[in-house]
Point group: D2
Chain length 167, copies 4
């Protein structure tokens, strides 16, 4: 079972979150690779049964680079794959959920099956996707505080992909 995490990272925080999600996926027994937008292995993606996509929030919106990349993502054969989304923000109110919702919207337009696990797996509850708050602005936070959310999300996402596609 191949799974992928595709990210746009500006400061390295979103890449770190992508790595945590991949770790969680591997913990569920899947093969997981992460790709920045510049270095996507199209063959791997075409074989992957699930793809999680994420980027930081700028003005409560996805990055222009992610928006541009998503225009052509349908051609990579996303239809029918399990889809997830994540984000990193500078502030708790920084728009992470709006970014996730906008990525999920495009995933649905590409025919993906969007999944987060939600509250169905108990604590920690994930709503529509995991968000981490960077530590450079909100001093009481720090991306590491959110590590578990990303790992748990990755694990649950992989378990669902295995359940759906490995029978």
């Amino acid at each position: 079972m191949k799974l992928a995490v595709i990210y746009d990272s500006v400061t390295g925080n979103t890449k770190k979150a992508a790595e945590w999600i991949a770790e969680g996926m591997e913990g569920a027994g899947a093969e997981a690779k992460i790709f920045s937008l510049e270095e996507i292995d199209k063959e791997y993606i075409s074989e992957a049964k699930g793809v999680v996509i994420g980027c930081p929030s700028y003005a409560a919106s996805m990055t222009p680079k992610m928006r541009e990349w998503l225009m052509g993502a349908g051609k990579l054969g996303m239809a029918g794959k399990l889809g997830g989304a994540f984000s990193t923000v500078q502030y708790t109110h920084g728009g992470g959920e709006l970014v996730i919702q906008s990525i999920l919207t495009i995933e649905m337009c590409m025919g993906m099956l969007c999944y987060s696990g939600g509250s169905s797996k108990g604590a920690p509850v994930i709503h529509i996707g995991p968000i981490g708050v960077n530590d450079n602005v909100e001093k009481h936070n720090g991306l590491e505080h959110y590590m578990d959310y990303f790992k748990v999300f990755g694990k649950r996402f992989a378990e669902k992909a295995i359940e759906l596609f490995e029978r």
Copy 2:
């Protein structure tokens, strides 16, 4: 393969759309039942592999009755089911997509797999879900114009549910 369409209808238009979706589902070989919020068969829902939920738009938002009902919907065992959403509006700009997006958001929080088919099945393209414009305000429209969207959406939704869960 049991599938359900759950709707809140005020004037009868949304019920009509629910019926069209169910017709499309049956065209794909599934068993499909529609339920208003007041008459839900909990046993049928618990056995259904996919549930599509819809309501009219009021102030570009779901109806209060639908919001109230969705608070307890998780208890019906929605987690893991295929989830879809639809809406009817008085105006083209009347908020149907915002209603669909808000229903999908709650579906994801309940652990559902959200699916519309998007553009992956060719024309007619469905984005995040089908919308019909009622004919009492925009005279050049009329809900019947949107019948095919609802039927096609129901058919594609059922085909995906069969593909995922009837192997």
Copy 3:
């Protein structure tokens, strides 16, 4: 200059946030009153030049009680008033921005002028509205950490209302 904060609070956290916003408004020289949905002073609201509305997030959505109340809010003469929104959540990824966005959507449908100040007033940047994370789940957080955001938002909102309507 009369301003109001209208809230739905379940545990008391959202009421606390409402009080902080009102404190910020008063710091800018405005008269500010807070009202739960049950005890709204309609005459005061009709005289208020700005209204900020908030509630906790349940399943990344506004509470059913808030949705119900907003159905009739237009009758209180909201059109033309300055409008803002806020939320409190159990988790950073708990849907606060989605709640704010859904409240702002209805405010716009009522003809309000939606305003948060955004990034235009420097640090702390407010995006579409302030959010506080309750301290019962994320132990590294705590609503008090977010007090300044709510106060700053209230102050900026009041300054804009004074600038627009007290000339």
Copy 4:
């Protein structure tokens, strides 16, 4: 009273909608100019009291070009201006409201006052902004059917700007 409409148009439909909005603005006694993203008169924009921004929907999202442009739009002095948004789509369910909502979100992050008039001005009701459906896909529609919405929106937007800023 200077007002501006800024648009990204791919087929010419969104430009046509921008022109209709500007006509409506002029009907209210304002000076109105429209600008494509490539030919923006920065001096005019800095003097304008209100700016309406729109683009077509691709995958229920704003165009990449519009997303890119909005990254730097704050530098044009948008804070404090009246802000509005519009969209054109190929399908009724094509994501126009999601595009409008995402533009309004960035406008709020820039400190603008977002306004559509909503239902407060009677028929035709505008929700969060006007949308036109192009005539190349939905044969029963046609952008001209939506002309009045765009003109009415422009008129109401201009009247509000005059009321707020010309006292």
